[in-house]
Symmetry: C2
Subunit: 340 residues, 2 copies
């Protein structure tokens, strides 16, 4: 039996410290109490640890720090994604610097320039607004960027998304199976691939069931609770023109449900709702919310793997787009329609 | 009328960029496209902007970056706190580096040493485990740290908490007013001030109502959904020894409700529940959850203000403890008890 090589993680757990601490001790970027230092050195000798050259391929001689740029940490979807990337970075002995852009293009550009100045070795980049081209051009100059969750269309780097089209299809199929023939889609910004692909999957499911396309309505705006509230008000003021709503994020669903409840529209009796993300405690809602679940932790782990394992000298490695599968979690917010 | 001095924010909004971008352009740590640069320079001249020396007191000549250390970004309470600090930093023209410690002491120490090496100008520090003294001693060596949310007892730096005792009192008072005379407190780690002070406020409210102290039970563990689940199982296996439960975080409340619902215990008919934090969408739960609301955004803003405005040369300025008030949000999870 071939003995498995000792990893940084083995050393860290033998010494009772984090992988980051060992990694930083080894590259001289941390001062530790003498006692801690001796404990780590003893573990290194005892386990005959030798640094793994492959694990250092991205970062050799540089900061051993990965950057992660997200729009808004208060959004539970991004918070969970951040936490998954953080754990994976720790597992690989890399530190993580996290930047929140508050959705402002100026801040995104500033963080890309931090990478250009070598403060981080690579960047996992999440945007959620359309790009006028500046972002893509900056990403292409910088290199070592993995684009996650939403596209930056002209960026020539590896990209990782959930399978948005499949998610839309699963939602549509579930609504059709419950007898719905009129569906309102409430999406985020219309230029974003998440919004477009989820809609397109929903439309395909309705088409496959031979439902006329005038049964498919569409409101698009922002992935926010506030936009969800506005969409519900519009839906009510238009006389509830569909028997089911597909809300394309947890935040939108929360806003929709708030206003529908306030106005006394019963879910699912008068209108069925299906959400997207399934990050918040939707299972405790009244009624519990049926939703498409994103593999958030898997996205975070895979994003970091792409950053570390991509051969950045090999142009054909850079043009990849990878989709991770989603699933439907059926709860109690979808029922057969009680009205036309 | 005295004309208000032009701020960095005025320049930023005139130029259509973020405050961070202007600040970084001014201190030479960013390269911008020529067009953007000219737009900012035009705004500076037009508005006759002069850098405000006071705003730079913390950071003069250094990184213009603040560090924020939190235990776990996937927890919505910390996620919201991070977002509040981030916005306030941006408003003040400071960049923010965010570190998640995943609750590991080794990582906390590593981040403090980043401050010691001047990578950041100051640190907002949030821990959620007991300190064996190493953390406090490292914080005292480092200086320019504000301790937020949970105490590091021997750290001689400004501290900022929500008024945990008052929160416990409000919860107890509300339960007493609804006729409860037996209450289970489900707290986090018993050494943490949040857990101790919330319990102590609850006890004071019950005492004020002349309720015998054998009516007050206590389970303590972790601020996690998993611990909430375990607490509910224990509560059921002990034959529901109280008519009301005060859960000392959203996460604990979520775990409790999950298991109580699964096991068919009706809320609030068989047991009333009151939570703490009120960060998640508790208003949509079945039943909607009564909770003590933390002023999370105010905590984030005030933490940054303390970091910037404290006179770090003045030892008596450092020993402050500030409490921000909490409030009770009454919803539908508390009702008079139907059993003894």
């Amino acid at each position: 039996m071939k003995k498995r090589a000792t990893s940084l993680k083995d050393v860290a757990s033998a010494a009772g410290v984090s992988v980051t601490t060992v990694s930083r001790l080894l590259n001289g970027t941390i001062e530790l109490p003498l006692e801690t230092k001796s404990r780590i050195q003893a573990a290194i000798q005892e386990l005959r640890y030798e640094p793994n050259p492959h694990a250092r391929s991205l970062s050799r001689g540089r900061s051993d720090t990965i950057g992660l740029v997200v729009p808004d940490i208060a959004n539970p979807f991004f918070a969970t994604l951040v936490s998954a990337v953080e754990e994976e970075a720790d597992r690989r002995g890399l530190a993580l610097s996290l930047y929140a852009t508050l959705n402002r293009p100026g801040r995104e550009i500033a963080y890309l320039s931090a990478l250009a100045r070598n403060h981080v070795d690579g960047l996992v980049f999440v945007t959620n607004h359309p790009d006028d081209g500046e972002l893509a051009s900056r990403i292409n100059q910088t290199g070592k960027v993995v684009v996650v969750d939403e596209d930056v269309p002209d960026a020539m780097v590896p990209k990782l998304f959930c399978d948005n089209e499949q998610g839309g299809y699963l939602a549509g199929e579930h609504l059709v199976q419950n007898g719905h023939r009129s569906v309102l889609y409430v999406g985020g910004p219309e230029e974003m691939i998440s919004t477009r692909r989820r809609y397109s999957g929903l439309r395909r499911a309705l088409r496959d069931a031979s439902i006329p396309m005038d049964g498919l309505l569409r409101y698009e705006g922002e992935y926010t609770v506030e936009f969800g509230r506005n969409a519900a008000r519009r839906f009510l003021s238009e006389g509830m023109p569909a028997t089911a709503i597909f809300a394309s994020s947890d935040e939108i669903a929360i806003g929709l449900i708030e206003v529908l409840r306030e106005q006394g529209a019963s879910i699912p009796r008068e209108v069925s709702i299906i959400g997207f993300d399934d990050v918040g405690p939707l299972h405790l809602f009244a009624p519990s919310l049926t939703a498409i679940r994103q593999p958030v932790r898997a996205i975070g782990q895979r994003a970091l793997a792409l950053l570390v394992d991509t051969n950045w000298e090999q142009p054909e490695d850079l043009l990849s787009e990878e989709l991770l599968p989603v699933e439907i979690v059926a709860r109690n917010s979808v029922a057969p329609p009680s009205r036309k």
